[in-house]
Symmetry: C2
Subunit: 230 residues, 2 copies
């Protein structure tokens, strides 16, 4: 196919082919079903050869969530560039919000992807694995932060899992409602409420830790625009 060859010549052309393939895949998966759509179908719909599809995506499933690793890298960057004195609560909140930005970038596509990953078992399991990559990332950085805490590993595991779970709850509620533009703030707010549920200072914690915890709580309360508990 000459057209595809010319498109793929330049970097913009490559991005265009990639978009076409994603669009064709999502379209066909929704209309015809995931199992009943072959890679040949997707490639043909995008006007490229079957072999070219696998030059853009590692697998058939990859056409649905192709930017997973980029998102992971962005979150890792948030953690790595964070100031050491930044409270843990605000840090994990910031990291989580990064993902919101990515999804909000193309709401229509996000909703379609959500529906597919929600309904097709294979894609749902793959999504679970992706989410677990986020969880591991969170936990890894938290464990580093809690190195001095005797229960640090446990706290890191619990907080990491809790944050990711809350994030998914908020995100999926938003996506399930069709990703309305005016619903993004509610989504972010819902996610931030997780900070109030994170475990407090460890049993053998020192004074500094306690102060940090109170600071975190105060910051979170400010962000939620809610008065302190009576």
């Amino acid at each position: 196919m000459t057209v595809a060859a010319r498109r793929g010549r330049s970097p913009e052309g490559r991005a265009e082919v990639r978009r076409d393939l994603v669009a064709a895949a999502v379209e066909l998966f929704l209309v015809r079903g995931y199992e009943d759509t072959t890679v040949d179908d997707i490639a043909a719909a995008a006007g490229v050869g079957r072999r070219t599809f696998f030059r853009y995506f590692r697998s058939k499933e990859d056409a649905i969530s192709p930017d997973h690793e980029a998102a992971l890298a962005r979150i890792a960057e948030v953690f790595e560039t964070a100031h050491p004195t930044e409270p843990t609560a605000t840090l994990v909140l910031r990291a989580g919000e990064t993902v919101f930005d990515i999804y909000a970038d193309d709401p229509r596509l996000s909703v379609e992807r959500y529906r597919l990953t929600h309904e097709v078992p294979v894609l749902r399991d793959r999504e679970s694995a992706s989410v677990d990559h986020y969880r591991r990332l969170f936990t890894r950085y938290l464990r580093r932060r809690f190195a001095s805490d005797p229960d640090g590993d446990l706290r890191a595991a619990v907080i990491g899992a809790a944050v990711v779970a809350a994030h998914n709850l908020a995100l999926r509620a938003w996506l399930g409602a069709g990703a309305p533009e005016d619903g993004m703030e509610a989504c972010r707010g819902r996610f931030r409420r997780v900070a109030g549920m994170l475990p407090g200072e460890p049993a053998g914690g020192d004074g500094l830790h306690a102060v940090t915890q109170r600071l975190e709580q105060a910051v979170v309360r400010l962000e939620r625009n809610t008065p302190p508990a009576p």
Copy 2:
């Protein structure tokens, strides 16, 4: 193969073939590597035809974790048969411990499975999906319990994810150490510590809720054999 046919005739024969297939699969995966082992190899090593393998397992990966659904069912039973007044903390702890029992049933096999799911990317992702099934199960029952709480969904998501994460942390530490028989109690104890990190009563909680919370804390403290915080 006449031998296999005769073995498979009776229920005990079926169980035997199944065990042989699992053993052959684990053995070959560890020795030759997962990717370099074909289903033909596994079937041949177990003395059955390739077609028969797929009558016992849905897929090649299934030979590693074939009892996943049974475990899910056992946990669901714990939740369904629980008394409504049982504190949430003890309930999720009991449910989690059920899984320990399953793994402790055949420690050698559990360790080999752990190594494989730890090292082979495909199997690790599949394991993530399995763990997420547990998380969903926990969350589903917790959400029912927290129906009266305005933040019930969030609390259910957070507690469910936290409990499962803590469970995995304890379990994998035990498996990583070679699943020593005298290490199971430490594993269970480590898991139980998660109860101390679970979010307390909701902001708008009522008195009953507060009392329940204190009860839960007391029970957990008793189980951990540790005195109340000074």
